[in-house]
Structure formats: structure tokens, C-alpha cells
Amino acid sequence: MELKGRSHKFGNDVNTDYIISGRHKFKTLDMNELAKYVMEDLDPDFYSKITPGDFIVAGSNFGCGSSREQAPQAIKCAGIGAVLAKSFARIFYRNAINIGLPVVECDTDAINSGDELVVDLSKGIIRNLTQRREIAVKPLPEVMITILNDGGLPAHFRKHGTFNL
């Protein structure tokens, strides 16, 4: 699977309150509505800057804080193709895989905002077209690859009726 888009860079410890604030997330299940408020407390105009397929690129501990699955859902519905970070908080990481949002652990220091990237998930490599360099990707655990290959956890359950890992 190859994804192509531009980078939007964020810092360390981006928590799920910043990804989608409690002000919005408690009142609706309409993820397209929530998507408009993605990262609002860090960058009020972020949603309008996204071209479908773009990447969120962050430092360490991305998605820390609350367990709200609206966070990866809203990112996905905002048109983000994948999140690249040095490390992820574990609940966010699981949630993202479960709903089919690719999360990529890699060294993001050398990626700047606006860089054109190609993320090749099957080969485990990121090509930074702007800087003409490649970045290695830390592979996903095998159980997560199984879930992703089935199309997320709901699809995995529809197929097997329970966990088949």
C-alpha cells in the first residue's frame, strides 16, 4: 500500500483532547462533523489546510490522554492518510489500527512541514520527495497486521465472529 501526500508537522505529546476537544466530541457520532475541529486547540485553521491524503507528522507520545476513538476517527474523516510519529500512546495506537487509520512509527525529526512524502507500508519505507531521502519504518506487531489486512477490527469480527489472531 502506497500513500502520497504533504506533511503537517506537530510536536511531542499531542493529546486526544487536542485532536478532538471534549467541547465537540460528546455531542455527536457524525465523524464528518467532528473532523472540522481536528487539532483545533493547536491550530484553529488546520482542517482547511488539509488536502486529502496529507499526513500528520509528530514527535513522541502522539495521542496520549483520553481513550476517545473519535480522535483517530476524526483524523481519518478529515482526509489524513496516515499519522507518522516517533512514538504513539498505546490506546490511540490500538484505536487507529482498529478503525483502519495507518499509524507509522519512525524518526520524524528530518521531516519538515510541507514536505512531499510517499509512505510505502508494505515495504516499510518512507520516501521524502522534497528532501530526496528515505526513512525506515518500525514494523507493526503481527496481530495488528492481521487486523489491518482484514480491514479493521469490525471486519475481522464479521469474518471470524471473535478474535482469530
Binding site: D13, N15, D17, Y18, S21, G22, R23, K25, F26, K27, T28, L29, E40, D41, S60, N61, C64, G65, S66, S67, R68, E69, Q70, P72, Q73, S87, A89, R90, I91, R94, N95, N98, I99, P141, E142, V143, G152, L153, P154, F157, R158, G161, T162, F163, L165
Partner: protein
């Protein structure tokens, strides 16, 4: 090779010889969701082809994050939860019952040795009574409701050895803020924390919940403690179930071990806008506050309300401070009324709101205005957390919040506690 608490509980529930870093599929003893996460879980449940829950006695939902509903949209989601729980025959704790993390142990649903998931990140709270409990998202919750199972990566363990005793005016909240500040927000990511030592042993079970509750603020998957006589007595008073406590082996293998001396820790405050931005209270003393908040799954229990009430009893809070109190459950509320604790708080000027999470998560019941400072007993102070991204949230103990409410500025509670 010896085992940690996490390895033993996950091993017992998966029928494997679980060691750190292995993947297991394990049986769950209890599964819980709240009103911020359950509606999505219900959608996932249906999407997964779910028809019934694996065991109606082992699943519950709680309406606590926006309780009672402040908005039409929220009301629709609450209705969805009421219909789902009625249809599936599972327990619903509706508005006024309390905060989910108070209710799960208080109502006897979880006991030592259990494996529990909750769709709320502070589910790690029950580690205080020797439960491996961890927060998950809505889809994992749906999978748990259907199958009674979940996959886990067996975590490595970070052992916090806390020697010595906390001094007067210094509480479990100060200790856990200190630890979070020391190891930072991702200091224990992917790991289970084990909290041991003289300082932990000396705490009440209620105070221990405060510590385990904030394990997630250091990134931990669980915040475990061993069960002692206090734990056993507490569980006996709250549950009919038989606990199966688990202790770590003497030769258990830890990823990290850190030692602390509790007697050297004073009151701590987390400054805006991260929980690990912790400093001794001396560095922030005198900071003006416009709102003080006592409650939440971290510090809304009877002991917390009592500590605060003793500080404000017979006095009046600063006229420019809104002092909001949210007992963590109906049972806590009633006991606090019976003991005159609510009376003392209200006479001092507190506004008591429905047991629930509202003020902490910014849904209602006390959204601060632009530029205002809040001192709160909650576990998070992220920008916008209380509903306004132009407000500033400081975190402290119930004593610090009460002392600060009296003075209209952040105040060292040791002035009031002997």
C-alpha cells in the same frame, strides 16, 4: 524466572505462561463504557454483527461525562445507551449514580486478580485494588462486549518503590503528581506500573485509587498495587465476589525500578498545560485563581471531600472564587451529607453539582472564561480540557484546592493542616 503482577494476571486469564512482550488473547472479568465512548461502541457492536453481550452480569455502561445532559445532541446519545442497555439486559448507571471509576469498585463489580477493560483511559484506577484494568477505545470495547475477550501485549513493568511516609498536608495526589513530573508523560508508555513501599502501604484504599488513577498520565497501561489487609477489608465491604489477589515474585523481572523518599515530597502542583509540568507548591504559591474544582475520578471520594471540608469548615471562600464540588458517586454524596461534610463545604460557599465528570472534561458545570485560572483536583490540565482553550488549569490535592479557594490564590495547605 519470577513474574510481575501484570504477567500473572494476564497469564491466568489467557491460560498461558505469559511473559512481557508476548501477545495473549485473554478472558475479561468485566467490561465498562461511559457516555463519551459507549455510543461509538454500540455502533461498532452492530457493525461487527453483535447480537448479545457475552455475559449480561459482566458488562455495564455509565452516563457520567455529560450528566445530566446539557445538549440535545448528548440527549440523543444517552437515549441510544438507555435503549441498548435495556435491549441487551445489561446494567446502566444513569445520571446521578456517579463517575464510572468510582462505581466499578464501589458497586462491587471488580475485585483483586481481575482483568478488566473500560472505554475510558482512567480505567487503570482499579489497579489500586490489585486489578489489571486498562483503558481501551470503543471498538475494543465492542469486541469485549461480544466475545468477553481482548488481545493484549503483556507489558513490561516499571516499579516505583516509594519509601518513607508523606508528611502532614501532603497526600496521595502530591505523590503521584511528583512521580508523573519525574518520569514525564511518556515515562511508562506501553508498561504496567507497580507502586510499592512503605508510603503506599500507609495510604487508605481511597487514597491509593488516586495514585493508580493517574498511571495513564505517565503513559502506563495499568497502575498496579499488591492487595493487603486494607484491600481485603475494602473489597469485603463493597463486593460479594471472591478476590484472587496476585503478588509479584521476589525475583520478578522489571524493565525499570526507581526509588523515592515520600518524606521529602511536599505539596505539588501541575502547571498548565501538561500533567508532567509539575513543581513544588512554593513555586506557584500566590497565583490568583477564579475557580476551584473538587471532585473527579481522581479525588472525588469521601476522604477527599472530608479533607477539603475540614480546611474550609467555619470559614468563607474568597468571594471572587467559584468553588465547584462534584462528589464521585451518589453513595459518596450521601455519606458526605450524613457526616456533615457537604454542609461544611456549602456553608463555606461551595456549589455542589451532580456526581459526574462534567467540569473536568469541559462538557458543562463550570467552563472557565478567557484568561482565568482554575485549581482542580482532576488528573488533566490540557489546554481546553475544561472547555475553554484560553483558560489555565492547575492540578493539586483536595487540600490545596480547598486552601486556594479560601484565599483566591494558590495556597500551601500545610498552613491549615497539623
Amino acid at each position: 524466572m519470577g513474574k510481575t503482577i501484570a504477567e500473572k494476571i494476564l497469564g491466568r486469564h489467557s491460560g498461558t505462561d505469559a511473559h512481557a512482550d508476548e501477545i495473549v488473547v485473554a478472558d475479561l472479568d468485566f467490561v465498562m463504557g461511559q457516555d463519551g465512548t459507549s455510543p461509538l461502541a454500540i455502533r461498532a457492536f452492530n457493525d461487527m454483527g453483535g447480537e448479545k453481550v457475552f455475559d449480561t452480569g459482566k458488562v455495564a455502561m455509565v452516563i457520567d461525562h455529560s450528566a445530566p445532559s446539557p445538549l440535545e445532541g448528548v440527549s440523543a446519545l444517552h437515549k441510544l445507551m438507555r435503549e441498548f442497555t435495556a435491549d441487551k439486559g445489561i446494567k446502566l448507571y444513569d445520571i446521578g449514580c456517579g463517575v464510572c471509576h468510582q462505581l466499578m469498585p464501589e458497586q462491587g463489580h471488580v475485585v483483586s486478580g481481575d482483568l478488566v477493560i473500560g472505554a475510558d483511559s482512567h480505567t487503570c484506577s482499579y489497579g489500586a485494588i490489585n486489578v489489571f484494568s486498562t483503558g481501551v477505545g470503543s471498538t475494543d470495547l465492542a469486541a469485549g462486549m461480544i466475545s468477553g475477550k481482548l488481545w493484549f501485549k503483556v507489558p513490561e513493568t516499571f516499579k516505583f518503590q516509594v519509601n518513607g511516609k508523606l508528611g502532614p498536608g501532603v497526600y496521595a495526589k502530591d505523590l503521584i503528581l511528583y512521580l508523573v513530573g519525574d518520569v514525564t508523560a511518556d515515562g511508562a508508555t506501553y508498561m504496567a506500573a507497580e507502586y510499592v513501599g512503605e508510603a503506599i502501604d500507609a495510604l487508605s484504599v481511597e487514597a491509593r485509587f488516586t495514585i493508580s488513577n493517574m498511571a495513564i498520565e505517565m503513559g502506563a497501561k495499568a497502575g498496579l498495587m499488591e492487595a493487603d489487609a486494607k484491600t481485603e477489608a475494602w473489597i469485603k465491604a463493597h463486593s460479594n465476589r471472591v478476590p484472587q489477589p496476585v503478588a509479584a515474585d521476589a525475583d520478578a523481572v522489571y524493565a525499570k525500578v526507581k526509588e523515592y523518599d515520600a518524606s521529602k515530597i511536599g505539596p505539588q502542583v501541575a502547571r498548565p498545560h501538561t500533567v508532567d509540568n509539575v513543581s513544588p507548591i512554593e513555586e506557584v504559591e500566590g497565583t490568583p485563581i477564579q475557580q476551584a474544582m473538587l471532585g473527579t475520578c481522581t479525588n472525588g471520594r469521601l476522604e477527599d471531600l472530608t479533607i477539603a471540608a475540614e480546611i474550609v469548615r467555619g470559614k468563607k471562600i474568597d468571594p471572587d472564587v467559584r468553588f465547584i464540588v462534584a462528589p464521585s458517586s451518589r453513595r459518596v454524596y450521601l455519606e458526605a451529607m450524613n457526616r456533615g461534610v457537604i454542609q461544611a463545604l456549602v456553608e463555606a460557599g461551595a456549589a455542589v453539582v451532580t456526581p459526574g465528570c462534567g467540569p473536568c472534561v469541559g462538557t458543562h458545570n463550570g467552563v472557565p472564561s478567557d484568561g482565568e485560572n482554575v485549581i482542580s483536583t482532576a488528573n488533566r490540565n490540557f489546554k481546553g480540557r475544561m472547555g475553554n482553550n484560553r483558560a489555565f488549569v492547575y492540578l493539586g490535592s483536595p487540600a490545596t484546592v480547598a486552601a486556594s479557594a479560601l484565599n483566591g490564590k494558590i495556597t500551601d495547605p500545610r498552613r491549615y493542616v497539623r
